[in-house]
């Protein structure tokens, strides 16, 4: 971080292309551009092949002797399992519409971060190994041999992709780099090319229920701290329950929310809302992670980690599940969960006990987004909200990649936001909604050693934020993703200093007016409310 050039300098991206063809350019592993490899004991715990100590900066990556066969066989297997892969390998015309859509390309100028070239890294091997004509024509037809440099390049660029799917929106054939990256990572995992910041959280999720490795008693402790803090701010003692059999609702959120700022304030918002509604909801330490780190590895681990949600809902006998504010979690819940671990025939179609609204859009999965639930409450006038508790905030909204392009979740969160803050303004139209830009930390890349590249990738989001900061005085960026809440504060500090990052339910929690409550002087961050600053000091 300390070595980072200032933003004005970083913006000066060189978009010119090298003189030599891309196949002749070897990847360079400079600090700040790659993530550290998976630790051997973590690989062993997960049962992944080739656990060893190795470093991308060294020449010898200690690949298993039969790695070529493993990749070939794996590729063949995936081509037989995924139509997406097969079609995406065959029908790209290299029109380049995707080229300047990737935040990592915009921020780095590295041509291999153009989604089309990222895919060509895989496609060149597909042609060289699985198509007759290209095998004969070789490089001319864009085919190449499977050499160590090829998989080194894979490691570089498939761990420089956050699977945000922005490129996929513009592709005339809908070629989805998230799918290609997902499957490339699956292949790499078969020969031991993986990163620790994905594997260790995945291992933690498996054993402790959440990616941080928080054990059940510690989880309870952290919850107690937040309950105390809520009491300090509101004078109310909320009483969340754990593992309560027969509760109506199981609530699952990313565990990042209980662990660090600013997620904890969102967590407090959840607790306040449930208390306000006297909702029959319970928490689980066993299923205490919404985010799915398996989805950054392969389909097996994605399924295995996700399976806890239904398993716990079944064990506790709840009627349905509500999910908290999270990005990847919702990509998996919306597009994969029912397929992998359904049918959820032991649950009921979610029906809000407060408004009676039946969530037809979740009638099979039986899992709804908390923001849907809250938007419905507000629409039906069930929440008394005081925007002035969020006075001084000029908010903008960051659409998370996964809820945007894997769901289409745009108007519900904006509706909630508009009802809890006095001033809200969107960022420029080509950086929001389905065209939103990634925070740079998705798909397992929110680790410390990757900070430089992540901040480069954060250029488009950061610049859009700076624009509304300067033009409209935006000082708060709200979002519904735990990785955003972890990544965006650093991004804002760098690209648009002075803008703070909040989850949506933090703002809801601030604005909620309880019946007969004592007057609040602080927000959930224990900052004095505007107009009340310094009142204590005067006493």
């Amino acid at each position: 971080m300390s070595k980072m050039a200032p933003p004005e300098e970083l913006m000066n991206v060189n978009y010119s292309t090298p003189s030599e063809p891309w196949m002749d350019v070897r990847p360079e592993f400079k600090p700040g551009t790659f993530s550290y490899p998976g630790k051997p004991d973590v690989l062993k715990y997960l049962g992944l092949p080739n656990p060893r100590d190795w470093s991308p900066t060294e020449e010898d990556w200690k690949l298993p002797p039969d790695w070529r066969e493993t990749i070939r066989d794996g590729f063949r297997e995936l081509l037989g399992k995924y139509r997406s892969l097969k079609v995406f390998m065959d029908c790209c015309v290299r029109c380049g519409a995707c080229a300047d859509k990737c935040h990592f390309y915009i921020g780095s100028g590295d041509p291999k971060n153009m989604p089309v070239l990222r895919a060509e890294l895989l496609r060149s091997i597909y042609r060289g190994e699985f198509t007759v004509a290209a095998k004969i024509l070789g490089k001319l037809a864009g085919a190449r041999k499977l050499e160590e440099d090829v998989v080194k390049e894979w490691f570089m660029y498939f761990y420089q992709c956050t699977q945000c799917r922005r490129c996929s929106l513009y592709c005339p054939y809908g070629i989805d780099t998230a799918e290609i990256t997902f499957l490339a990572r699956d292949l790499m995992n078969r020969i031991g090319l993986n990163i620790n910041w994905i594997l260790e959280p995945a291992a933690n999720c498996n054993r402790t229920g959440n990616h941080l490795g928080i054990q059940p008693h510690a989880f309870k402790d952290m919850m107690d701290f937040l309950v105390d803090d809520i009491e300090t701010v509101t004078g109310r003692r909320v009483e969340p329950s754990f593992h309560r059999k027969g509760a109506e609702i199981l609530f699952i959120t990313p565990s990042g929310d209980i662990f660090a700022e600013p997620g904890i304030y969102t967590f407090m918002g959840y607790l306040l809302l449930f208390d306000y509604l006297d909702l029959d909801v319970t928490w689980s330490t066993y299923a205490s992670e919404g985010g799915n780190f398996g989805s950054f590895m392969n389909d097996k681990w994605m399924k295995k980690l996700n399976a806890k949600m239904y398993a716990e809902a079944k064990r506790l006998g709840v009627k349905y599940i509500i999910g908290g504010e999270c990005g990847h979690m919702w990509r998996v819940l919306n597009q994969f969960m029912d397929t992998m671990n359904g049918p959820a025939d032991f649950l009921e179609v979610p029906k809000s006990p407060i408004t009676g609204t039946v969530f037809e859009n979740a009638k099979s999965t039986k899992m709804i987004h908390l923001v849907e639930f809250t938007a419905d409450l507000i629409k039906n006038g069930k929440l008394k909200l005081d925007k002035s508790r969020n006075a001084g905030i000029t908010a903008t909204w960051h659409d998370s990649c996964n809820t945007s392009r894997g769901m289409g979740f745009f108007d519900e969160p904006r509706y909630v936001l508009e009802n809890v803050v006095e001033k809200f303004v969107d960022m420029p139209s080509q950086t929001i909604r389905e065209q939103t830009f990634c925070c740079g930390g998705g798909a397992g890349l929110n680790n410390g050693e990757f900070t430089e590249m992540r901040l480069r990738g954060g250029l488009p989001r950061g610049n859009a934020l700076k624009y509304v900061q300067e033009k409209f005085g935006v000082n708060t960026m709200s979002c519904i993703c735990a990785i955003d809440r972890a990544t965006l504060p650093g991004l804002a500090d760098y690209w648009a200093p002075g803008v703070k990052v909040t989850g949506l339910h933090e703002l809801v929690g601030n604005a909620l007016v309880f019946e007969g409550e004592e007057e609040r002087t602080m927000n959930l961050r224990q900052e004095d409310l505007p107009g009340l600053e310094g009142s204590e000091e005067e006493e």
């Binding site: 079609v87 790209c92 380049g96 060509e120 054939y173 989805d176 593992h243 609204t357 979740a362 769901m407």
Partner: protein, 333 residues
């Protein structure tokens, strides 16, 4: 650039082979044998490829959603960018295939470090020229049916009438001939002069463009300059489709060149990126509705043996700590 040169040389060589070969008494080869072989390769290759895709499972429904989802009744859904029913998905696909909806969104990054801004201006040039190119290709293709069909169907004469509405020159100028060449030229120029596109371009990107351009130019030469004997060519064409092939006299060498290049295109098609014609219909990010929380999508290879780390194991691992913290447990220690 190696790709560009190779592709250009390949097309020039192919054209020369046909022009010289037909002149050297090999009219039968270029007029009869090669066309049959080429069409056979096209048909079997195309079907094989599409069946190969279609027989591969779609394990997950992964539409790329491009607008507001179906949600609460008071939230307005973007039905055709984020469809939730098969009917809406059909319209999304129609917009994609017929109007190039995704390309219509195209933007161009405009990074101005001096001003401290990055913009994303609308860039519809690729959309426009791609649309011109593909529709001209379609119309030219339909027009050619007059050579193979007797009587000429109304659709074909209708298309011809509109296409030559300006009534310029003799024979009358087809508008699509002009726009077709303009479209191909634009696509080619992009590949040459847009450094990003040039960098990703392979010989297999230049080859079809040169080939198609050569087909267009040879066709234009035949019609407007050589003014070839159309009756003779129609005789040859009808002979081919009725499986009673004949080689009439008076067929100009330029016809064999044109026809051979078309045959090369047919034969090349199934093995190339031109298969996007079929692939666009089968892309799982476009042809599935975003209804996966309402309707369960089935994965044929879903593995029921993959189970979560069970609660019982979890509790065994942490039981004492849980009890101490006051968390409920299933089995007391």
């Amino acid at each position: 650039m190696a790709g560009l040169v190779t592709a250009l040389l390949a097309v020039v060589a192919l054209a020369a082979v046909a022009a010289l070969g037909a002149g050297a008494g090999m009219a039968q080869v270029f007029g009869i044998y090669i066309p049959y072989v080429a069409v056979a390769i096209f048909v079997t290759g195309f079907i094989k490829k599409v069946l190969g895709w279609a027989s591969t499972p779609v394990p997950f429904a992964i539409p790329t959603t491009g607008g507001q989802q179906y949600s609460l009744p008071w939230v307005k859904q973007a039905k055709f960018d984020n469809p939730s029913t098969p009917g809406q998905t059909f319209i999304r696909m129609a917009l994609e295939v017929l109007c190039f909806r995704s390309l219509f969104r195209n933007t161009k990054v405009d990074n101005r470090p001096g001003e401290g801004t990055v913009g994303y201006g609308s860039d519809k040039s690729l959309w426009l020229f791609a649309l011109i190119f593909h529709y001209c290709f379609l119309i030219v293709f339909i027009r050619h049916f007059r050579f193979f069909l007797e009587p000429v169907p109304f659709l074909v004469t209708g298309v011809e009438f509109v296409d030559s509405i300006l009534q310029i020159s003799v024979p009358t100028l087809y508008l699509t001939d002009v726009f077709f060449v303009v479209g191909v030229t634009f696509l080619l120029a992009r590949r040459l002069f847009d450094s990003k596109v040039a960098y990703i371009s392979l010989a297999s990107d230049f080859f079809p463009l040169f080939l198609i351009l050569a087909i267009a130019l040879s066709g234009i030469y035949m019609r407007y300059f050589a003014k070839v004997d159309v009756i003779a060519i129609k005789q040859l064409a009808i002979g081919l489709v009725s499986f009673k092939p004949v080689i009439p006299p008076n067929v100009d060498w330029s016809f064999y060149m044109h026809f051979f290049l078309v045959c090369v295109l047919w034969a090349y098609f199934p093995f190339s990126k031109l298969m996007h014609l079929g692939g666009v219909f089968l892309s799982p990010t476009r042809n599935l509705p975003n209804n996966t929380r309402m309707v369960r999508h089935i994965n044929p290879w879903n593995d029921p043996s993959i189970k979560p780390h069970s609660y019982a194991d979890y509790e065994d691992d942490f039981r004492e700590k849980m009890i101490e913290a006051g968390l409920p447990v299933d089995k007391e220690a």
